[in-house]
């Protein structure tokens, strides 16, 4: 590609097509749109399943679908979880990470068809896995529910689709690097490694039960922190200075945040096994890792909130669609980190063990943080790649308020409901009926917020697909200003 550049073509503008696109962006437009469109479709599917699952959980009689064997809660919840994580989270970050590192490294994606191929494989394997889940064929390990033959396909697809950010990083033109690049590179390395190892230890060469449990907790913590967490942190580090037009405050601390994050995040898993027959020192390592994770959380808080606090940053963020979502996510991450540390400790952990609390923490990380950041990023990137505007400002508002309120309600219900539930379970004087009754209020909240999230996602999808269609329609090609 250096050959091309030396040939003296005017730089920064693609030779053909949309005049607003840089060469970098026009090269990755195809794969980006494939990843993005699939991610939104999966997000919609997951939200519909989320509503069904919430209704089922809310009514003791089994909800409106109790006679339908395919739609039992076990199937729906597992499919929802996997579609949200592998369908939405992965496709969307494939797109964003690729775009981000291409931008920062001025990388021109030449073999875009490889990424596209990876995306196709990824989504086919995902579809196959979800169909099998509905057919009643799933393993007992959360986020590894797909039958084991799906694993290798997903791994290969990841290498094809998700490895480009690393290539872009390796080929960057200058020696300078930026925080976003470190985080994306870490995410792109960490996932395939942990996924393959977990597959091997749990599904292909099953180790003993305890080792499986340890491997599983390790995999889940890596997936959540190092894929969702690191990728979304990368995006926040990019969009704050980019949109506000200023530097990150306390940026000199960012390398410490990065190294401490990748160092400790992977070790937090065993804290989920407190009380299980797992060697004590491993449990304690998990507790310590959760506590030490406060270091990157403090630094990112200084970086993000410091940047937002100076010179009316917050009000500017509020008035900018991208930043409104991104700063929502940044606040959620700080909250997540604090909760993670506090509830890593044995005393608190023992209260919320076996309750919905952990699900609440996961939602805080994967939805309130990562997904909101992804939404914000989309509002920034998509108009540039399609060359058109968002069709409806009203839908943007619906999207923000529905998802923000839905996320807050979901997370409060899971966290507070889990806490209450744990207190009651530990108290022998509370009967099981009472416990179930107390939980039903929170289940109602969960059902309503699942509907809210669905509404928000539909608004988002309508807007995004409208924009993509508009830009690909030939009539509108010359219309944008």
């Amino acid at each position: 590609m250096t050959q091309e550049n030396r040939s003296g073509r005017p730089q920064g503008r693609p030779p053909e097509g949309d005049s607003r696109l840089t060469r970098t962006e026009s090269q990755l437009r195809g794969p980006f749109l494939l990843f993005f469109i699939s991610s939104v479709i999966w997000l919609l599917a997951a939200s519909v399943l989320g509503v069904i699952a919430a209704l089922q959980q809310g009514s003791l009689a089994g909800g409106p679908f109790r006679d339908c064997e395919i739609l039992t809660y076990g199937h729906v919840a597992a499919a929802q979880h996997n579609l949200f994580v592998y369908g939405w989270g992965f496709n969307a970050f494939f797109a964003l990470n690729l775009w981000l590192l291409s931008q920062l490294g001025r990388f021109e994606l030449r073999n875009g068809w490889l990424a596209t191929l990876g995306g196709v494989f990824w989504n086919l394997a995902l579809t196959y896995g979800v169909v099998l889940i509905f057919a009643g064929n799933q393993t007992g390990f959360a986020l590894l529910e797909f039958p084991r033959e799906v694993g290798p396909v997903l791994a290969v697809a990841f290498l094809l689709a998700g490895f480009w950010p690393i290539v872009a990083f390796a080929r960057r033109p200058t020696g300078h690097t930026f925080a976003s690049q470190w985080f994306v590179v870490a995410a792109s390395f960490a996932f395939p490694l942990t996924y393959l190892l977990a597959q091997l230890l749990i599904l292909w060469q099953p180790a003993s039960g305890v080792v499986q449990a340890i491997a599983h907790s390790w995999f889940v913590s890596n997936l959540l922190h190092l894929w969702f967490g690191a990728s979304a942190l990368a995006a926040v580090y990019y969009f704050l200075p980019k949109v506000l037009g200023r530097t990150i405050s306390g940026y000199y601390l960012a390398p410490v945040a990065f190294w401490s994050f990748v160092l400790f995040a992977g070790w937090t898993g065993p804290s989920a096994l407190i009380g299980a027959p797992v060697p004590l020192w491993l449990q304690s390592v998990g507790v310590v890792a959760c506590a030490m994770l406060i270091i990157p959380v403090i630094i990112t808080a200084i970086n993000f909130h410091g940047t937002l606090s100076s010179e009316g940053g917050w009000s500017r963020a509020w008035n900018d669609t991208t930043l409104r979502f991104v700063s929502f996510g940044a606040v959620a991450f700080t909250l997540f980190g604090v909760l993670n540390t506090v509830f890593g400790f044995r005393g608190y952990n023992s209260v919320v063990r076996f309750t919905s609390f952990a699900a609440g923490q996961e939602q805080l990380l994967t939805y309130a943080f990562a997904s909101m950041v992804l939404f914000g990023a989309t509002y920034f990137v998509l108009p540039r790649l399609t060359g058109s505007r968002w069709p409806s400002a009203k839908l943007v508002h619906v999207h923000f308020w529905a998802t923000a309120l839905g996320a807050i309600a979901t997370i409060i219900a899971l966290l507070v409901g889990g806490w209450e539930n744990g207190k009651q379970l530990a108290d022998a004087s509370v009967s099981f009926q009472q416990v179930a009754k107390a939980g039903s209020t929170w289940n109602a909240v969960l059902s309503v917020s699942a509907v809210l999230l669905l509404v928000g996602h539909v608004a988002f999808a309508l807007n995004a697909f409208g924009m993509i269609l508009k830009s690909s329609a030939p009539a509108s090609a010359g219309r944008h200003d």
């Binding site: 250096t2 550049n5 030396r6 730089q11 920064g12 607003r20 840089t22 970098t24 962006e25 931008q103 920062l104 001025r106 033109p173 200058t174 020696g175 300078h176 690097t177 930026f178 925080a179 470190w182 990019y238 200075p241 980019k242 949109v243 506000l244 037009g245 530097t247 990150i248 405050s249 306390g250 940026y251 000199y252 601390l253 960012a254 390398p255 410490v256 299980a276 027959p277 797992v278 060697p279 004590l280 020192w281 304690s284 390592v285 507790v287 310590v288 506590a291 030490m292 406060i294 270091i295 403090i298 630094i299 200084i302 044995r346 540039r384």
Partner: protein, 229 residues
């Protein structure tokens, strides 16, 4: 991050600001400005900032705490310590909670008993009676403990076969815990399925029988009749 020694590649043509350029700095500038920031660690020079020093101390404190927590809550890093409360005694130097361990029992059996009863537990016909499927071994744990502690001499019938031999008081030279491991192994090996034996039980029996002579099998049976034939 290790970019101190590297120079921007000047051969590559510079790009103009990417995208519409309406928002924020160009990406190239964004990277450069920040990498400058992280190298010089220069916040705007309005006096001396306490933040970095405070943060360093804070993080050192965290590290110190982490080390402390790990050493105090890890059951000496023993792979068999699962419960926070049990191993605390071990850290304080107190007695470790006993767990009958058939694997340890097997080693001790091979060293102390296998010469006569054989590693297979089948004994030697006419000389040493079998322990495998022996009714003497199953049932009352006190019978086995007594046999090991004081030994046996005289006529004995095991699995319908009569023996008349002499088993010395091997247990007298073994610790309570060792005897408990051996007895547990013997009661669970070769198809035997009796309960494990605790060291406290051995201590109890040792105290009760004192320093006595070998048992005559018939006498031992009077104290602890066979539960099964």
């Amino acid at each position: 991050m290790n970019d101190r020694n590297r120079h921007p590649d000047n051969n590559r043509p510079r790009r103009g600001p990417s995208g519409a350029g309406s928002e924020g700095p160009s990406d190239g500038r964004l990277v450069e400005v920040h990498s400058q920031l992280s190298r010089d660690k220069d916040e705007p020079a309005e006096g001396f900032s306490l933040t970095p020093i405070f943060i360093v101390f804070l993080f050192c404190g965290f590290g110190f705490w982490a080390g402390l927590y790990l050493t105090q809550n890890s059951g000496n890093f023993a792979p068999s310590a699962f419960d926070l409360n049990a191993p605390k005694a071990a850290v304080a130097g107190g007695p470790v909670a006993f767990e009958p361990d058939a694997a340890k029992g097997e080693k001790l059996f091979l060293a102390n008993c296998a010469a006569c009863h054989q590693a297979t537990g089948l004994g030697v016909p006419g000389a040493f009676p079998p322990l495998a499927k022996s009714a003497w071994v199953a049932g009352s744990e006190e019978r086995v403990i007594k046999a090991i502690l004081a030994g046996l001499a005289g006529e004995i019938e095991v699995n319908g076969v009569k023996y008349n031999g002499n088993m010395p008081n091997i247990g007298a030279g073994l610790k309570d815990a060792q005897i408990a491991h051996i007895a547990t192994y013997v009661r669970q090996a070769w198809g035997n399925t009796a309960e494990p034996v605790m060291d406290t039980k051995v201590a109890e029996v040792r105290k009760a029988i004192g320093n006595r002579a070998q048992y005559i099998p018939a006498d031992l049976l009077k104290e602890h009749p066979l539960e099964t034939k």
